[in-house]
Symmetry: C2
């Protein structure tokens, strides 16, 4: 058989994560898939943390592909947030990986942060504020993708539909006098919702917060 490489381990981990969720990525399980003993992986990665960091690094590499410094900061910010959301939609494991892995050690993540800080500095924010906003945007994107069942690891259309029905039923079973909004929401949950519409609203929401704060700072600055 072809011998084990660092890349083969990484690919195996990503496949496992995308198909069955990050919690399925255990050293022992992964070793089983790759037909080696668990300890073989330790030759290629110092420990599990380093493996997950490498996975994040690999997936985040695509996020800062297209930077256009000539554009307005609003446009540049939107491009980077949409790249982030797009990458997460393509790789269902990324949101969870960003939560468990030591992302600050991933170079591609650091590059994306630098790019975001640069955009936000141009918008008039301090570096402190920029750093807060950068993690607000990152976690906002994570939250958005996480909120879509069809963007979760190993989800077939049938499973999505079934989970939706279950969720709808649970909400409709609540006492309507205490939870009128949730019961009503449970009813709307029976018909499928459009992903593009959802993400469009979500990204607008994230960006709107930043733009409003920038406008506020500009007002205070000139006052």
């Amino acid at each position: 058989m072809g011998k084990l490489t660092r890349q083969a381990v990484l690919e195996g981990a990503l496949r496992l994560a995308d198909e069955e969720g990050v919690e399925a990525v255990t050293i022992r399980r992964l070793a089983g898939e790759l037909q080696v003993t668990p300890m073989a992986l330790y030759w290629h990665f110092k420990n599990k943390t380093e493996l997950l960091t490498a996975a994040v690094d690999h997936l985040m590499a695509g996020v800062i592909a297209d930077v256009r410094p000539d554009r307005d900061w609003r446009e540049r910010l939107r491009v980077i947030v949409e790249a982030l959301v797009g990458t997460m939609r393509a790789h269902p494991s990324l949101p969870a990986l960003l939560q468990v892995a030591d992302k600050e050690q991933a170079e591609s993540f650091t590059r994306a942060t630098e790019a975001t800080l640069d955009i936000l500095a141009e918008a008039g924010f301090t570096l402190d504020e920029g750093y807060t906003i950068a993690s607000y945007l990152l976690n906002g994107a994570v939250t958005l993708v996480h909120g879509r069942l069809d963007c979760r690891a190993g989800m077939t259309p049938e499973k999505v539909a079934q989970e939706r029905r279950m969720h709808a039923l649970r909400l409709q079973a609540l006492p309507p006098d205490c939870f009128p909004r949730l019961v009503e929401y449970g009813r709307t949950l029976e018909e499928p919702s459009d992903a593009e519409e959802y993400f469009s609203f979500g990204v607008d929401l994230l960006i709107a917060g930043v733009e409003a704060m920038a406008a506020k700072k500009a007002r205070e600055g000139t006052a």
Copy 2:
């Protein structure tokens, strides 16, 4: 010795979580602290998931204490977000608990969601949008609190200062031509930052997004 109660288990779990982080809350570890065998806990809780859900339920109970239906929706929304942030600051384990526990099963969490949906419906959002915004606000609050080292489990002022210095050094060690913003941010990180200012900015940011989207909807509605 006094015998084990459901409440004693819950209190032990919360203490452990606040002092050493949720990852320290294992059935075996907790049983050790309570001077019983691991299996004793299974009499009071069906499984670990149920324990963590109960913990979330207990901590979230304070969040919807003061609802003032006579006020403007903006004010009501701010009150609930600030209650959320305040509760998390008081209980360092809550952000992590909300990520790992099955929060939808916690009644107090459901009540807070209902209250938020109600406020957002008044603001002109659909239930779908309201649900998206509610999780945006929740995770935004989690992100904010998580970003403060001094709000993490088991952090003494000394540890905070030391972690800050380490972070500052790591950033300043980056190549300045590639990462000018991060290097600069590393320098600002050497002097302590004000928590109140940070949270004030953060909550404003979260609310600003919602208000901007509400204004946009109002414009489109009358147009």
